[in-house]
Subunit: 335 residues, 2 copies
């Protein structure tokens, strides 16, 4: 074989927002699978906010990316050569094979997916890690009851868009927070949230009070900083605050000073951080339910698509700046 | 009867630390019990940090004190006249009868106590609300496992002193935080904590790292502000942070800006605020266990005693400044 691999490496650790110079694109030959391995051609790459944290030197919840290594990332692709009894060439798999066109894997962390059930890229979104994240953080952890108000930040994003739709399906008032009028219109009109607050409009507190007139029972937090601080001030007794992400802080050179933590005591809040990969045992049930709702048309799904691995760094930086609508993916092939 | 009652009223809402001028002491005749009521002579009054929050106009977890009303507070005393079939004169009861020498009650919230089992004042501490608070927040909510490190602030206080002893009894490393060398020596030598950090020494972070070399698995938070922020930075994955009190904030005119909340995500922390009165159903079991350990001498208990209702305001202000060692009570009679 003379196939050439293309890879995006971490070239330097960003201070503040990453730039394209923090990434390096390299070509290399594609290796052949050893015994027990498969060779996968990646068709789609997922871009997610958590990747920003892994670019830092500081410890985080997952192994940090090392300089000169391939960027970590979720993928969906096709087995093109197999020396594993568990996979055949032509099967489609999703996993975390990184920012590259081809990857070897022992198959342990690959999950077979069916392009006849849903478009391949959906397995990186509503039928993959972001969907399970929404399901786990909302239904398994926060456990909203009908009639309660659920607020979710980054509401137009891959996770937030599912959170709000699940909240609405469970009889809750779904209130989104998103950046800009276009996203807010999308969140209400396309995703069916009851309300959406544009945090860029500069009236976050007032607008949120209007959007959640009965107070906040569940906060599904993707953003942190001022957004979290403001929502805390509007919580009801026994509110649940699920900390899924703090994307406003990932590029910040100084942490936002949170002043409303007293609400945790006054309202007996349960605040809990989580990582979807900590509890792999709930994934099958979450994926089963998500696939059902998706197939029934109850769970709508939108993507922002970048084209070509070379454009992944730019798309990633754009996503951190909130330029995407829905799940940000990179199309790596003409599949 | 010609008995005169003495009462401490809330005269004004303090800004910052209360002063004695925020209280007013009044005399009034003692009323006779109506049908179904008892008249109680209070022998001991409990002084607790939560009372400071109730002096504010802002909403908190409990009903605020109103200007001109008797200050709210836990008491233990003696039934001196009864028109209730449930109580006889001469019985001892604990309840929340306020900063006064005599009080009428319908008995619904009174609990009979036995001065032969423990000194009456202990029912305001280790065998009362503070003890149950420690038990509930630590054993029922944080659920530490043997070998874990438990940090508790206000470690020499009524709640903190019990928390650390319970942690040690459950095989944990018990680390206290307290103000001053005298308190820290007490916490280690008298209460048996493994270590105690003097936050007034000005090296909180370094000293805490030394006292908790394996990181923090459970934080039982009584203080908040800088203490909480520092402990957050030292948490281990899956730490539990139980927010019982935020006494550093009760008198603050501006909230402390917490900067290490990112640890909640990175370490998948469960942070939960609680009020001991929310779950009255666990009190009997908690009191049963506490009384057993107390009787066996496993649970040591210390008090700071003020004498006379007139001195309650000064003792309360002193407690907020951390001048007490152990549970702060006021002796109201010669009993």
């Amino acid at each position: 074989m003379t196939m050439r691999n293309l890879q995006v490496l971490l070239a330097s650790r960003p201070s503040g927002f990453p730039t394209e110079a923090d990434f390096r694109i390299v070509e290399s030959p594609v290796a052949q699978p050893a015994d027990g391995q498969v060779l996968v051609r990646n068709h789609w790459l997922s871009l997610d906010p958590y990747m920003r944290m892994r670019m830092n030197a500081a410890k985080s919840y997952a192994k940090r990316a090392e300089l000169g290594e391939v960027m970590i990332g979720g993928t969906v692709g096709e087995v093109i050569a197999s020396r594993s009894p568990q996979f055949r060439a032509g099967e489609f798999v999703t996993g975390s094979l990184g920012w590259q066109l081809y990857a070897l894997s022992d198959g342990a962390a690959l999950r077979k997916v069916d392009p006849a059930v849903a478009p391949l890229s959906h397995y990186l979104g509503v039928l993959g890690m972001p969907g399970v994240t929404a399901w786990m953080g909302l239904l398994d952890m926060a456990r909203p009851e009908a009639g309660e108000t659920v607020v979710v930040s980054a509401a137009a994003g891959a996770v937030g868009s599912v959170v709000g739709q699940l909240a609405r399906m469970h009889g809750c008032r779904a209130v989104g927070i998103a950046g800009g009028a276009v996203k807010c219109a999308h969140v209400v009109q396309e995703l069916g949230f009851h309300a959406c607050v544009d945090y860029k409009a500069g009236r976050l507190r007032e607008d949120l009070e209007r959007a959640a007139p009965d107070g906040v029972d569940v906060d599904f937090e993707n953003v942190g900083g001022e957004v979290l601080d403001t929502v805390l001030a509007l919580t009801n007794p026994f509110a649940r605050v699920t900390i899924c992400g703090l994307v406003s802080q990932y590029n910040a050179t100084a942490a936002y000073p949170v002043r409303n933590l007293g609400a945790v005591l006054v309202n007996r809040i349960r605040m809990q951080g989580f990582i979807v990969s900590d509890r792999l045992e709930v994934w099958p049930e979450a994926l089963r339910q998500l696939a059902g709702w998706h197939a029934e048309g109850k769970l709508r799904y939108f993507e922002s698509v970048a084209h070509g691995l070379e454009n992944a760094p730019r798309a990633f930086i754009g996503m951190l700046r909130g330029e995407n609508l829905g799940k940000q993916v990179v199309r790596l092939s003409e599949y």
